[in-house]
Symmetry: C2
Subunit: 363 residues, 2 copies
Amino acid sequence: MEFYIPTKVYHEDGAVLNHSAEIASLGRKAFIVTGKSSAVKTGALDDVIKALESNDTDYILYDKIEENPSVEAIMEATDTGRGHGADFVIGIGGGSPMDAAKAIALMVQNRDTAEEVLYKELKIKALPVAEVPTTCGTGSEVTPYAILTRNDKKTKQSIKHRIYPSVACIDAKYLKYAPVSVIRNTAIDALCHLIESYFNKKSTEYTKMLCKYGFRTWAKNRVALFDGKDFTYENYNQLLFASTLAGMAISHTGTSIPHGLSYYLTYNKNIPHGKAVGIFLPGYLNFMKKSLASDYNSVISDIGFDDLEEFKLFIKCCVGEFCITDKDICEMVQEMLANPVKLSSVPYDIGEKELRDIIEYIR
Amino acid sequence: MEFYIPTKVYHEDGAVLNHSAEIASLGRKAFIVTGKSSAVKTGALDDVIKALESNDTDYILYDKIEENPSVEAIMEATDTGRGHGADFVIGIGGGSPMDAAKAIALMVQNRDTAEEVLYKELKIKALPVAEVPTTCGTGSEVTPYAILTRNDKKTKQSIKHRIYPSVACIDAKYLKYAPVSVIRNTAIDALCHLIESYFNKKSTEYTKMLCKYGFRTWAKNRVALFDGKDFTYENYNQLLFASTLAGMAISHTGTSIPHGLSYYLTYNKNIPHGKAVGIFLPGYLNFMKKSLASDYNSVISDIGFDDLEEFKLFIKCCVGEFCITDKDICEMVQEMLANPVKLSSVPYDIGEKELRDIIEYIR
């Protein structure tokens, strides 16, 4: 088994300012990559700018990363980064800007390459990356992954390069500005990471440790998540911690079926990522139950539920309304059957029938 | 809180040969640092040489590292390393050669410096280091520490530099050649790391996770350790895993009182390190009990014991005979009171009386 998490993780109140010198030491000119509003609203962008200015480090701000960024969006940002001579990248936000930061770091470092490079297995380096999460789901601050929307393939896909952030600055205070729907969706995304990593052919004692601790940390917040209100600083702190642990786990195992299925819903129905994966989580757990996964009962209890029915109700309450047609199911199943990497992550035999069962379980 | 473990850890049967290209990629000429016999007996040296030769990488073997290596021994090895133009270092063995490898990597890289540099706070780099453990206690394969014997100060002390190994190749098969006393002493050292990190002012949710998982992994082997026979491959594997987790934990927190006290016994009475720390572990746990440490009961149960009395008997059986005089106690207490770093690691008020109680508890 392998363990490799080279990112320097700071999880504390004031993380960005406390470690400003270390962030600034990554280069001479930062390319700050964010979405339109959350980096401003949360105060994270302000903190990053202060951190750079206090170390006399130059920067360019690029705040046009949308949710589920496309390869085209990455190349547009890359042009700006190349044009200004950026030599390190700072991602601020949820998974979209943090993943984008890694892909942009690769493309800016390799100046004369085109977007095809993202999906080729090549030994090339990326600029150093620092990440500042403002949601509690992706774990992208410690993973080597960058998932982009591929319009040519009508889905989302991870780039072929493993780009570990150099520094992650994690601060719970940024979360208090997020809408309840974002907290819920991202917390469910983190739970999916934990469960898909735990029940995974690639799981090891290291990843199980991360997942188990993550389950119990996550479980402490299930009442607040169910109620959808009265989130405390401690809730935000624990949910962030759980999502970073989950990120460390999937860095080793990858994700599995719920993530694989979700990309269809996000691409075709514009369903936010966390919600799109959460929809399939009760079905994936039901599949584990039917497959007699040895740890099934302890996982259900570790995440804070009496049984799968209770968990299903919880997920239904958190994800809200959605519509999956018979045509969707057919297409999702076909897409999944054509994805050997995700299928091979499942520790039990899985085929068309099982995939249908997983999808239909929550309907 | 912080999390930083940049070492690439491979824990598997055949780890060295499976990852030979990665080891060889650390440089062009390896300086292999080992003790006189265990690296040969275990087959680890053979594997490392095969790994280098199969990648056409040159090497020099230095097999004169003794237990608790002195600064003088490090400088002698450094001369050889410098003379042959080594550009990376491979440590094979227990804590002594693995710690030595880090200190030598620092001194060979900084060619024109003398031994004083080891104990100065300077921003200097070390050559890349790979580590191959053949005991299950030190965790040195993932820690940034190098503890050396300082004859000028009549004790053991960590150098001032944090040198993280680049690669750790962990293979349980090397352990089967170790004498029972070595397995016991090093397994107890690992348990000390776990407990001293857990009950530590610097402990965090990350280090607690590592310690808790380490406790439970270690506990599975307590019967074999008590019996001192019939160790299985799985015992070796789990004890190695527990010791690596412990290393990851102390990389963040450092060790505490039992380690601080042990250096006197090792320096003055030549008591092996694991045994020397183990002697103080029941007393340290008793101090935690008296201080009403909130997790005291769960730790005793996680390491596999009903109560402290049972644990004390276990330790007495494993460490065997030793003699601590009243004069020793006086000197140890004075040495400890003059060590503010170790004292400040303790989460409760501690003074002369408490130190005496910890030392005398096992007598």
